[in-house]
């Protein structure tokens, strides 16, 4: 498939699909057949990647620092969970409702967020998340409080595919939704809207002079990111048939930030790479050593920062540049 983004002009970011795009997306498809015993982990990696992608829109493109992105993940998760608990277990409409709820709250909070300095943004997003978490705890009658909602009667996907114990349906469903979201995000960031975001990030002061309404663009980007995070949260609820208070956890906001920065911000694929790397390393290390695995994951993070800037993809870019320079003297 070929987007029209390439028509905007040469030298601009394009959403034209290349061969290695296809190769990258074939990897998770192949994983379905190669690792049939690891599909539940696989779907949770994909959901984390989608969540990181939503943060990439907010942080990597709009340049808004958020340490409370779990607020929208949690809203989506609880929207899908409450719908299922009250008899609306149909997954796709649940996903849509989750996106809407997260987008509405994202839109409302965006006005608190977009104006401040980076540190103020960090703390306001964190504060909003913690307030929502506390509200969900107080509303234990509906949300189940810390214990959450379990055994949710999530309906069959498209009325046909049951969410099975081995996680086959959950994996394919998560992958399909993540792919659709990726295509959408890629389309958006290479549109004129996405380009104006990039310009704002690089020099917000100049943009009004060019006729771009900075505040409104950032509000739109934050709302879009919130909606995507809501979808990721809803996916987690539906594939695990449960939701608990920790969907709002600061740990979740922090780890998604770590995943994105580890992979590389503002690159879309960084979200997928970071989520995959972090979660698979964690799973592997925690199996070897369930008590002290954090030591090794910490060493990994330190090493990535010391090796270069801009996460794994940043390092890869530098290496590639050096390689091409070296081979064409």
């Amino acid at each position: 498939m070929t987007g029209r983004g390439g028509a905007i002009g040469a030298g601009l970011p394009s959403d034209r699909w290349r061969i290695w795009d296809a190769a990258l997306w074939l990897a998770p498809v192949a994983a379905y057949f190669v690792f049939p015993d690891h599909l539940v982990l696989g779907s949770q990696v994909i959901i984390a990647a989608l969540f990181a992608l939503s943060l990439d829109v907010v942080l990597g493109y709009a340049g808004i620092t958020s340490l409370g992105h779990a607020a929208f993940f949690g809203l989506g998760a609880y929207t899908a969970g409450l719908l299922a608990a009250h008899g609306w277990g149909e997954p796709l409409t649940g996903l849509a409702c989750a996106a809407v709820v997260a987008a509405v709250v994202g839109y409302l909070t965006s006005f608190l967020v977009v104006r401040g300095s980076a540190l103020a943004q960090l703390m306001i997003t964190l504060g909003v998340d913690l307030l929502l978490r506390e509200a969900a705890n107080k509303a234990a009658r509906w949300t189940g409080g810390t214990d959450g909602l379990s055994d949710l009667p999530v309906g069959d996907l498209l009325g046909v595919f049951h969410f099975d114990l081995a996680g086959r349906t959950g994996y394919v469903y998560s992958l399909a939704v993540a792919f659709a979201a990726f295509v959408l995000v890629r389309r958006v960031v290479s549109s004129p809207f996405g380009l104006s975001l990039r310009a704002i990030r690089e020099g917000a002061a100049r943009m009004p002079a060019l006729g771009a309404p900075v505040g409104r663009r950032l509000v739109a980007a934050f709302t879009f990111g919130a909606a995507l995070a809501g979808i990721a949260g809803a996916l987690l609820t539906q594939t695990s048939q449960g939701v608990a208070l920790e969907v709002f956890g600061t740990e979740r906001s922090a780890s998604v930030l770590i995943m994105l920065v580890l992979g590389g911000t503002g690159r879309l694929y960084g979200a997928f790479l970071g989520a995959g790397l972090f979660m698979l390393m964690q799973d592997y290390l925690a199996r070897l050593d369930p008590v002290y695995w954090q030591l090794w994951i910490g060493c990994l993070l330190v090493a990535v920062v010391l090796l270069g800037r801009g996460g794994v993809l940043g390092i890869a870019e530098v290496l590639r540049a050096r390689w091409t320079r070296g081979s064409v003297p």
């Binding site: 409080g145 959450g148 081995a166 925690a286 070897l288 010391l306």
Partner: protein, 422 residues
Amino acid sequence: MSHPAFVRVALAALVVVPALGGAACNKKSDDARPAAGSGSAAPAAAAPQDKPTIKIGMVASFSGPFADISKQLMGGIKTYMKQHGDTVAGKKIELLTRDTTGPLPEVAKRLAQELVVQDKVDFLTGFGLTPEALGAASVATEGKTPMVIMNAATSIITTKSPYIVRFSLTLPQVCAPLGDWAAKNGIKKVVTMVSDYGPGHDAEAAFTKAFTAGGGQVIDAIQTPVQNPDFSSFIQRVKDKHPDAVFVFVPAGQQSIAAMKAYDERGLAKAGIKLIATGDVLDDHNLATIGDPALGAISSYHYSVAHDSPENKAFLEAYRDANGADAGLPNFMSVAAYDAMSAIYDVITKLDGKIDPDKAMDILKHEAFTSPRGPISIDPETRDIVQTVYLRKVEKVNGELRSVEIQPLVTNMKDPGKDAGK
């Protein structure tokens, strides 16, 4: 900022090489576990009955803020396995440990699913926190795997799957007898203070129901944030309400220590306000850290290291032997893990190493033995623990703080939370 690239690379190598090497070595050298879980899936055996090993999958929070729970659980497991060996009915026992990192049901569910589907474990166990147990419940049902709860204490857990059996406690089980006792022993006005989460709400409801049924009056009910750093304002509020006693439930560890510190600092004991609590607040391991302010505090619970019985003496000795003198004292979590292992060993012995899930559940449902905490059994109807609840008072025994049992409040106490839900 310019600097030689090789410095960065060298630094990174310095960090990474020991990291990867260390993680791999750790697998072999970590003596913390009796049998380290192997990451690679074992070759599928012809039939589950013919396997040379019995696998027990343990799901708990080994890292993060709740790591102290899994430390206690492992302490109990190690004690039992050191006493009784790692071979039962000719089968080697293999323990596979998985870290949930916290109250994350989806992670617990995933780990349980992997243990059941990939590793083909015969039992699931661990479960320090309620959300972990609730997350994994459906896996136990679908995978037909007996799931033995070692700690999680919310009442509803055992109703979530016919394959769940619990060896720890429920909060209504220990709070209702205390409410009853308080009403009958001259305490008329009480302020309750509980952590604002599931077990806290269970505790408050059960205590209040029993206490008011006995003619007592709850004049204020305070719910504190789950990760509350400082209790002084809550305790000051208690003091200014002038009750006869304050009923407290907060989780054992950082929260119980902080609550007891505020109780001491505000001089509630001097103001004539008694402390009545669940055993969590004065748990055996952390009691020494709380120190003398705990003296005289009244609590109700099912286990104290001061319990006077030959079984408990043997347990305490074995615990020190298996975990070393530095490990400190076991508490109710270790004992529940110890008893859960005892039940699992019993099932393996009775089935002669051929684990059929339904037969195993049938045996688990009818377990009854004398634990270090006293006689315990499982209620076949609810698959929940039935045990004696004691009234205890903190005293100095040979210079060390102990919750000394004064009298049994109720023998063979079932979980009253189940009836309340009906």
